[in-house]
Amino acid sequence: MKAKKGAISVMMGNVVAANAARLCRPEVVSLYPITPQSEVAETMSGFVSDGSLNAEIVEVEGENSAMNVCRAASLAGARTFTATSSYGLVYMYDTILETAGFRAPVVMVNVNRETPGIHAVSSGQQDMISTRDAGWIQIIVENNQEIADQIVMAYRLAEDYDIQLPIMVNYDGYYLSYLNEEVEIPLQEDVDAFLAPLKDQPKRPRIIPGKATGAGTHGMEMGYVEARYKHWAAMDRVKNKVDEIDKAFGDYFGRSYGGQIEEYKMADADIAILASGSAAGTAKEVVDAKRAEGIKVGLVKLRLFRPFPEERLVQALKGKKAIGVIDRSVCFGWKAGPMAVELKSLANKLGTMPILSFIDGLANLDINVPHINRVVDEVNGAAKGKPYQEVTWIPLE
């Protein structure tokens, strides 16, 4: 069975996210507006007021309450949706941890923005990186179509009985949030059909009014160890499930994204670039141009950041002569960006190739074609035995 062709519209990323969330029929929506996410909040409220979404909007005074509302509603069995960014994400940090720990399958859009520390109202992935150990599934998408499709896939993943975890769908603030792109919005009946298999699964526990519930009593001694282990093991199961759901989505809607990672011209590549988000789109252009010059370069687009796609990355990158990792955030305390640090933890399985870390695109500075050209040239040099730097701050050097 195939989905029918949806309507083609030109929409900014935030409006796309709201439309995709609407199609998944969340029952409780609680979000607090913040730049560069505000249109998600505005559009969701609009859908409820014009009757196109039958959901309860809980108006809150801040993001901490928004996440508490979503977690509570989720534990009561509701499908929930929220969205945030940057300061909002860190303002809900304690309850992000609780939501993951309680295994509430909340779906949240996080529009990537630089974080507190320096008052940066600009794009960057530091916000999601700062919550990478919260126990959430974290996925990064590249363009507006992928925002729509990934949000639909996110519900199928988060609410899967074998998973039961919250998921953060990340896209670049400013670059995608305010970018108007052509997008095919799936039909309601097709999204319903794609999410229908969830109804055939066993029901997860939920709070039932009038019945006693034990919550918060399980977190001591071996109870804590049990819960942490189950959560950790579920995170490991997420990896294959992401691939399965991506394939099912592709079979039905005709669009798929590679699951945990997208490999672009990797099969015969000598050297590889690892990038994520909208920068991966630019990197594909560079890969094509560099291949025309005779450099056999490929791209791995990291889609799943938590859990980290260890097996797929080893499969894709093993035996390459050198790898360059482009990070849109900073890892304090390591001489590499966060994704480069994580990739390096696979070094014993990847081989002995140089892994070069590049930090670029902080605070709305573009990760543009000349920058990625330079990444490819330096990685290519390292592959040929030239001396190289472990980490390069591209805008500074």
Binding site: P205, A212, T213, G214, A215, H218, M220
Partner: protein, 98 residues
């Protein structure tokens, strides 16, 4: 990876309906002292059992015996015993964990 441990919680999430088995903490592990009974002094009044916060004094017919799996070593039983039949002794004096 082989997990030998037998999980106590039946649900995937760390919370459940209260009619399901909840986690029981092995509170005996918290103990630094344990109550030792001098049977000659005990008059089987049962006050130690009534006052015990974790209710771990077992009725043995002519005296009460502490269940060391749960006894936290708080000493309330010894404090309340009108006959001073119970005395708290440091755990270091014993080789068994009870």
């Amino acid at each position: 990876m082989v997990i030998k441990y037998k999980f106590q919680m039946q649900t995937e999430a760390p919370w459940s309906d209260a009619n399901q088995k909840m986690l029981a903490l092995d509170t005996g592990g918290w103990r630094t002292e344990r109550p030792i009974l001098d049977k000659a002094l005990c008059n089987y009044c049962g006050l130690c059992s009534i006052y015990c916060p974790v209710q771990c004094m077992k009725d043995k017919g002519d005296h009460y015996e502490v269940d060391l799996t749960w006894c936290k070593g708080c000493g309330i039983c010894a404090h309340e015993c009108p006959k001073k039949a119970l005395a708290m002794k440091p755990e270091g004096d014993f080789t068994n964990e009870g």
